[in-house]
């Protein structure tokens, strides 16, 4: 390996990056923009879910029940309807996401301390809002019933504590508010930091398309010199992003950072190496830029979203997909970001993931160098 050859390629590649606005955008602005947009989308909480109510009871009790349920910002009373048919209509038109049906004996049953006849209908085509509405209604209903029972028991001279035999209180660690953004934004870092892998893939197929690769093949440059020389500028770019992007996450989106930043940075550099080497493989195998672009999305970005455990737990995946997710750098990096941002663990816990990324990176580079021949056709 000649340092002179390596640096010649690196220098040339840096000039390419800074002289092409599109590349400059792809490697610097796009990751920051992407993180900003996705993090912003995730930090908006679901509020004002439209709900319809069908009240067969029409008693004072049911009215105050409805009032309690629709108080607050979470649910919004869309309308009171008179039949199931109307509910069906509103759901189909998407005007409501959930409906509450109160049985005719609601007031009486509550008074008599019997089972309470209420029904919640949710829109399964949008399970997130629907489930959210269901959760709210059940919690409010429970509160309402407990309250009314307590008042009755106290009125009869008993202690309201007697109806709560178990007092269960859940505490969530590391993300006390269970806010999705706190978990997802560090996870998203693996996607946006991996974005320059696309440029790495494109730079190789660009040279192939423009005939410059033919000229390079005629020179004494070795394959690792060429491939690593092309990677180094993007690793440098990645290091800048590795500092810039968490700052955005922490400052703009209140994401906590509980671990060591130095550890995070070092492990991130290894991750960038691993994900860029995937880009190298794609560039080596794909003959044209459109093909490289398509395969980058197929191999890096879609699996990055869906198979690395950021959005969907890996434990819920079938065995064969789980194996595949282990070959994705993002899977290991998701654990590293959660560890350094949220739980604040150190190298003693995270080292296996760093080692795994290191191995993956070199395996990818080796595959690329092995299949990349200095021959045409």
């Amino acid at each position: 390996m000649s340092l002179r050859h390596l640096l010649a390629v690196t220098r040339k590649e840096i000039l390419h990056i800074f002289r092409d606005r599109m590349t400059l955008f792809l490697v610097f602005l796009a990751p920051a923009l992407l993180l900003f947009i996705m993090a912003y989308a995730l930090s908006v909480e679901i509020q004002h879910i439209p709900v319809a109510v069908l009240d067969y009871d029409r008693s004072a009790v049911s009215r105050s029940f409805i009032q309690q349920i629709t108080a607050g910002e979470d649910l919004e009373l869309h309308s009171q309807v008179n039949s199931i048919h109307e509910i069906n209509n509103l759901l189909m038109r998407g005007e409501i996401k959930a409906a509450l049906v109160i049985g005719p004996s609601f007031g009486r049953d509550l008074q008599a301390m019997r089972g309470i006849p209420i029904q919640i209908i949710i829109d399964g085509t949008e399970p997130q809002s629907g489930g959210f509405a269901m959760e709210h209604i059940s919690r409010r209903a429970e509160e309402f019933i407990n309250q009314s029972l307590s008042t009755q028991i106290e009125a009869m001279g008993g202690s309201s504590n007697s109806i709560r035999p178990i007092d269960l209180r859940v505490r969530t660690w590391y993300n006390p508010g269970l806010e999705p953004k706190v978990d997802l934004v560090p996870g998203l870092l693996s996607i946006v930091l991996g974005f320059p892998a696309l440029s790495v893939a494109l730079t190789i197929s660009h040279e192939r398309e423009h005939g410059t690769l033919e000229q390079l093949m005629a020179t004494p440059i070795s394959r690792p010199e060429l491939l690593l020389g092309k990677m180094i500028p993007y690793i440098l770019v990645g290091m800048v992003n590795a500092i810039l992007l968490p700052v955005i996450a922490i400052m703009a989106f209140d994401i906590p950072f509980n671990g060591s930043f130095l550890l995070y940075f070092m492990l991130t550099c290894i991750f960038i190496f691993a994900v860029l080497s995937m880009g190298i493989i794609i560039g080596v195998f794909m003959p044209t830029q459109p093909a490289a672009l398509a395969l980058s999305f197929l191999l890096i970005f879609f699996p990055g979203f869906f198979l690395t455990g950021i959005f969907f737990p890996i434990a819920a995946m079938p065995e064969i997909v789980r194996m595949e997710s282990l070959a994705l750098p993002g899977t290991h990096y998701a654990i590293i970001t959660r560890g350094t941002f949220l739980t604040g663990v150190g190298l003693d816990v995270l080292w296996p993931y760093g080692v795994m990324l290191f191995i993956l990176g070199w395996v990818f580079v080796a595959i690329a160098a092995l299949f990349f021949r200095k021959k045409l056709g």
Binding site: H16, G211, M217, L376, G377
Partner: protein, 311 residues
């Protein structure tokens, strides 16, 4: 390597691409210091031959040696010794002239102490000194070719492989380019150049004509010209279209080529056919300004050889 012995040598060299044989049993022997021209119609196998010799393609069968090294096994040893220039512009359009030169100087390990002197000399040689900070993509076609040549010369290779270096270049730049090649030739560089231009073939010390992947003729331009059995009659006429249609039916006329207002007729014997043709023109009432026996040029020789192959 002593001048005179073969510096490039191939034996029954074959290269196949999915079902087609691009180079077929090629036997080539080029002594050191020769300026060898490779001609032939499109698809004859010229580019494939040059790519094979540059170590850019795998050999299907046969052998090829460059400076005594086996191309099949020692391609990487050969690469620093040759300068290869691809047919299309294959430098970096977003790098300046100097940046391109320096990049290739680094890849070929040009000693740093000699670098600036060599770059200056090459820029001067290629007439690019005043454009040295211009981006490659903003150069004219001719200047791009000269820059590409400068980049292939930066490591002072003993062998130059040039694939149609003057295609798409204006005549003045073409002449300048060939003046540079002549100078290199005089300095002892072995040059293998492919070209579609017959006047360029005439400037080579030896010419190889390829057809369908085979080397059909390989000789000095003088020998090739005198070897063809046809002779040329040049006819100047205003009514060349009628003349063309009439003459192509005549016995002994093998081929008619049009050059502006004059027609070049390839005939089996000029002495015998010239009076016949004059008579026929008079009989048909086709006026003409002159008809005479002309010397065979490379172009006619080439076309006649190709026609011979095709029939």
């Amino acid at each position: 390597m002593p001048s005179g012995s073969a510096i490039i040598e191939t034996h029954d060299l074959v290269r196949d691409f999915k079902g087609t044989r691009a180079v077929d049993s090629l036997n080539l022997s080029i002594p050191g210091g020769e300026l060898f021209g490779l001609v032939g119609p499109d698809g004859a196998g010229k580019t494939t031959t040059l790519r094979l010799l540059a170590g850019l393609l795998d050999i299907t069968s046969g052998t090829a040696e460059v400076m005594g090294y086996d191309l099949a096994k020692q391609a990487e040893t050969i690469k620093p010794l040759i300068g290869y220039m691809a047919q299309q512009f294959s430098l970096y359009a977003d790098l300046s002239v100097v940046e391109n030169l320096k990049f290739f100087a680094d890849l070929y390990d040009v000693p740093r102490s000699e670098l600036s002197e060599r770059m200056e000399r090459l820029l001067l040689f290629a007439g690019l000194t005043e454009f040295k900070d211009r981006r490659g993509g903003n150069l004219s076609g001719g200047m791009q070719k000269k820059l590409a040549l400068a980049c292939t010369l930066i490591h002072q290779p003993e062998i130059l492989l040039l694939d149609e270096p003057t295609t798409g270049v204006d005549p003045v730049s073409r002449r300048e380019f060939w003046d540079i090649l002549n100078e290199l030739h005089l300095n002892g560089t072995t040059i293998l150049v492919s070209t579609p231009y017959m006047d360029e073939a005439d400037r080579c010390s030896r010419v190889g004509l390829m057809y369908n992947g085979r080397m059909v003729v390989c000789d000095s331009p003088q020998h090739i010209r005198s070897s063809i059995k046809a002779e040329v009659i040049e006819l100047k006429t205003d009514d060349w279209q009628t003349a063309h249609d009439m003459l192509k039916q005549r016995p002994g006329v093998m081929e008619i080529q049009t050059y502006g207002e004059s027609l070049h007729l390839l005939v089996d014997s000029a002495e015998e056919r010239l009076p016949e043709i004059e008579k026929a023109l008079l009989d048909q009432g086709i006026s003409y300004r002159g008809v005479r026996k002309a010397t065979t040029r490379m172009e006619e020789a080439f076309i006649s050889l190709i026609r011979q192959m095709e029939s």
